[in-house]
């Protein structure tokens, strides 16, 4: 078939996609800036802090990658985290009388948190798929609902974990295993599982197909509603997991817990190269995106060159530049 063979050469050219490395390059540049501002930036303590902090947004963003890849969006994650944290604290405090202040209470509390996360995600998912309401509206609604629930439970203030349980639970945030803090371990495990699920299973492939073209997915006998609902459940589970490692940090939850986490999570996902309209998801990029966002905040705390009031400007600029670096047509002249 000479005529078909002729296009071959053009196509087989190995395509090294420079854009793939965009987020990594952005992160390296940030680290260089941080180090030049203050060498303490690369101290072990600071790196550990950075990674641990990234864990929350990172874990949530892994879930968001699935939702967004399948063409959805979840604005409720920050409020959901606050609500789950609040309910978990109330529950653990109540369990003290029955189960004492040991590991069992913490385990039951954490188990319930995971369950709540799954249920909250399921609610978002079913309202979107069965209810046929835009994900944006559903999750904007549940965002308000979850947030006001935690305010209600806390009476507008702060819910605090019983002091004795805090002792039992504290290590989950503060302790390390082989020199790596436990939240970072959780982050690593979630990241690897997420990557595997996205790239090596039928589920990940279905998410991509649905986000890419829902009609084609449906005609390929994929149960679109089921898969979409599952992405929200996964998002809920990720939020719950993030909450479980968040609560022992300060032992409290209030109506200001997790404010704007949804935007941070979505930003991490998109900085990482996932396409907001769906159909193309990159877990690895998401992890880098979360690290980039945390690093920006960290660097701004490391210098007093910039007026405090302009933090938002710096953040905004860096986000735009980071994405621009990877989106612009660098390769055009080389093609």
């Amino acid at each position: 078939m000479p005529e078909l063979a002729q296009t071959d050469a053009t196509i087989r050219k190995p395509k090294i996609d420079l854009k793939m490395y965009g987020p990594a390059i952005a992160l390296v540049i940030l680290c260089i800036i941080g180090f030049s501002l203050n060498t303490a930036f690369l101290s072990e303590g600071n790196i550990t802090n950075l990674l641990t902090r990234s864990a929350f947004i990172g874990i949530i963003a892994v879930g968001a990658t699935f939702v967004i890849t399948a063409g959805g969006i979840d604005l409720s994650v920050g409020s959901m985290a606050a609500a789950i944290a609040g309910i978990m604290i109330i529950l653990m405090n109540a369990l003290v009388d029955i189960l004492g202040t040991g590991v069992l209470t913490v385990a039951v509390g954490a188990g319930c948190a995971v369950l709540l996360g799954a249920l909250a995600g399921l609610a978002n998912g079913l309202l979107t798929t069965k209810g046929k309401i835009e994900a944006f509206i559903v999750t904007l609604g549940t965002m308000g609902i979850f947030r006001s629930l935690v305010t209600y439970f806390a009476d507008g203030g702060t819910l605090s974990l019983n002091f004795d349980i805090r002792g039992t639970y504290r290590p989950v945030y503060y302790d390390s295993l082989i020199g790596v803090p436990i939240p970072v371990w959780v982050f690593i495990i979630v990241a690897i599982s997420g990557w595997f699920l996205m790239n090596r299973t039928t589920f990940g492939r279905y998410c991509t197909a649905i986000g890419s073209n829902e009609h084609v997915a449906q005609y390929s006998a994929i149960n679109v509603n089921k898969i979409k609902t599952w992405t929200y459940v996964i998002q809920g589970l990720c939020v719950a997991l993030a909450t479980v490692i968040y609560v022992p940090r300060l032992g409290s939850a209030s109506s200001s817990t997790g404010v704007l986490w949804e935007l941070e999570a979505i930003a991490a996902v998109i900085i990482g190269g996932t396409v907001l309209k769906g159909g193309y998801g990159r877990i690895g990029g998401t992890i880098l995106g979360a690290l980039i966002l945390t690093t920006i905040g960290n660097i701004l705390n490391f210098t007093d060159l910039i007026s405090n009031y302009l933090n938002g400007t710096m953040q905004g600029l860096i986000i735009i530049i980071a994405v621009w670096l990877q989106r612009a047509d660098w390769g055009k002249s080389k093609d």
Binding site: N38, A40, F41, S43, G45, N46, N49, R53, T151, A154, D155, G156, G157, T158, S160, Y174, R249, L250, S252, S254, S255, S256, T257, G297, N298, N301, F302, D304, N308, Y309, N311
Partner: protein, 296 residues
């Protein structure tokens, strides 16, 4: 009958942190107490999430409830001046709480804490404990006038004492931000002798960061502010890391409601200004500021 009921609107920001929740709690307590005491008084509590919503709420209090008096804790002074003026024009008695309006003479009654005083008292305490050449860091609140008043008064007071302010960052009256900003201060500055956290919520995050970094000893101390019950409990128990607190009482709204009701019920004149002090709470006097039932 309905006409004889005295309707008093109470408007304040939606609680999003513990101090505001304490204020809300005191307001609700006062509502129950006053309505039980005076069957012809109806207090209507409305909270709003932002200045524009509060302006709308004030309009609604007039147009729907037809209030006779307004107790208002403005979200911000400037934007609410005009809306409160409109309420006054409807003939209602005006009580302003905490944040003064930007135009004098609108309110009949003014009840407030003292923000500059909070900064000053905090600075004075710092100076009693620190010497020339000692280093402190400051964690500020949300960028607002309140934060500026506290911060400016603190800086003015500490001026010339020889104490170095290494840096100040906004921690937004929030525990998480307090924790993260303090972590970064600790990475950045190897020698910190004291922390002014301005607020008890931030102080909780600061303490957690200090403990994590093992830098809570060696005479290090943290000064918060407002009078959270857990903090006061700690002071009573002799906590060395957070040895004092500076009072900024959330109960001021209840005081304002009492005074406003009194304006209708008592014979004496009640109009005027009631400024509450920013008392330094120490182990000696802590007991009298401890309300275990309040959420704050």
């Amino acid at each position: 009958t309905a006409q004889d009921t005295i309707k008093i609107g109470v408007s304040y920001p939606t609680p999003t942190h513990a101090w505001a929740a304490g204020m809300n709690w005191h307001a609700e307590q006062a509502e129950a107490r006053l309505e039980a005491l005076y069957p012809d008084v109806d207090l209507i509590l409305i909270n709003s999430p932002d200045p524009a919503a509060q302006a709308s709420a004030l309009e609604d209090l007039v147009s729907i409830h037809g209030i006779d008096a307004l107790v208002v804790l403005p979200f911000e002074s400037e934007p609410l001046t005009d809306p409160v003026l409109n309420v006054k024009d409807s003939g209602a008695l005006i009580t302003v709480v905490d944040r003064g309006l930007s135009q004098p003479g609108i309110e009949d009654i003014y009840v407030a804490g003292n923000n500059p005083e909070l900064g000053r008292i905090s600075a004075q305490y710092m100076m009693t404990r620190l010497e020339t050449g000692d280093n402190i860091v400051i964690l500020r609140g949300i960028p607002t006038i309140i934060d500026n008043e506290r911060f400016d008064a603190f800086m003015a007071e500490i001026e010339g004492s020889g104490i170095n302010v290494l840096d100040h960052k906004h921690a937004n009256w929030n525990r998480d931000d307090g924790f993260e900003v303090m972590q970064d201060f600790l990475s950045r500055f190897p020698d910190i002798d004291a922390v002014w956290a301005q607020d008890d919520d931030i102080a909780i995050g600061v303490v957690a960061a200090l403990e994590q970094a093992d830098r809570a000893g060696d005479g290090m101390f943290v000064v918060g502010g407002a009078g959270m019950k857990e903090t006061i409990r700690g002071i009573m128990d002799g906590n060395e890391l957070v040895p004092v607190d500076v009072l900024y009482p959330p109960s001021m709204i209840a005081t304002a409601m009492d005074v406003t009701v009194a304006a209708f019920k008592s014979n004496g004149p009640v109009a005027g200004r009631y400024i509450l002090g920013a008392t330094l709470i120490t182990q000696e006097n802590a007991e009298s500021f401890y309300f275990p039932d309040s959420p704050f």
